[in-house]
Amino acid sequence: MFDCRGYYAVDNFLDHVDYCEPKLTLMRTNTGRLAEYFDRKLILTVLLYQKITDKMLNNILQLPLQRRRMADGPTPTDEEADKQSRLTECLERVASRRDKAAFEVLFEHFAPLLRAYSFAREPGASLMADELAQVVLIKIWEKAHTYNSQKASVNTWVYTLARNSRIDLLRRNGRYATEIDPEFLWQELEDESADPFMSVQQKRAEKTISDAFEHLPIDQQQVIAKVYLEGKTHQESAEELDLPLGTIKSRIRLAMQKLQLVVRR
């Protein structure tokens, strides 16, 4: 067993597990015992109890400095964390008890965001904004039991519901003339079974992404907002921002490099 405690920032280890082969398998053996630990403690425990393969070690050594620093960045305020865990709790109550009071909390949080998301794509289309909000909120109610807090935060889950519903709504309103049914394109991907690691990893990744996004240059943030919120293609973004198509693409590429969201072997 290689003792790496003295050499590498424990913080980075978890960010890194994703890129390691053989992934988490070698850590699963002690999962039962590890599950009571969280985050830092969990990682430390892993380092103490588990063997680190040479390949993992190499991967850790190759971590860019920026990524190591990112882990030391500002932590989300307790307020934000509290809000997130409250939303998760409410969604789980909706799933298990069909709790309307809990659903109301979700409604108050997401309905205004969903309307804003619709307006971002179709400014002035008030009916569509209400329709989208309604469609997504009812999906939240109906699909609450399929939500798995280990895989994604409530925010991310709702974002994907909103994105899929907006595409479908635009298509049914004839905004996209197409014979392709989007329902089958953005289906939830097959996923590994629930794993205590994934939950911690998932939360860390979201925190890292939020922090890093705020440090991106404004022009990169602007393009990301165009693409994600307004749902504009690269070509449309180029026309509206009066920039060459190549500039739009390179801004996205640069932003994603900094955020380190795209896995490349």
């Binding site: 309905a111 089958f184 394109l185 939020s210 994600y228 504009k232 996205i252 795209v262 896995v263 072997r265």
Partner: protein, 231 residues
Amino acid sequence: MVATYHPDTELLTAFSAGSMPLSQALCVSAHLEMCPDCQNSLRNLNKLGAHVFNKMKPSKVSDDLKESVFSKLGDTAIQNPASVIQDVNKARPVDSGVPKCLNQFIDGDYDSLSWHWVSPSIRQANLCVDGNGARVALLRIKPGGKASHHTHMGEEITMVLKGAFSDESGIFQQGDFVLRGSNDKHRPMATKDSECICLTVLDAPIQFTGYFTRWLNPLLRLGQPHSKDFH
């Protein structure tokens, strides 16, 4: 089999944002089904989407909307997860190797499609035309079969669903996602060990450039479904 060629960062971002033509999204979706790396990337990119989504300036909600949503809640019972799983299994009786996202066009396996003759070694099955005029089709090349030299008027995406093909720039195997720009002249050839089936999306019709194959151009156009949006 692990894919070697992936959609680039910009395309994956657009997929995560839901901001690309659906014909392209179809190819990315087919690739994702076969590529765990890109699935991971997509999960990350979705988190970015969630972050910007969550940071939007909220838009005021009317009491009517709230009333309307709450009035619809009572009617819906919890779906039994077990029955959902059964439904999914029913929809996929045998492992035909057809990506799930193509089930809307393919009833069963690839043989069930109507394949048009393109050349002695190539058959084509048209799936649909996207709103922007892009044509979505499957190409089926016999083992060792060669396509003719051709260039594209627009971009072409090729997703290898089965087998492998090679051309001047490399060998492309099951799961690989290849984007070719306009003026990219090439001559793909299926590997000898198996037939090759590809999903292709073409912004504009391809042009055969070989002297002896130019006559194919009008034929190929005939084989394409009509689109009033096409220009």
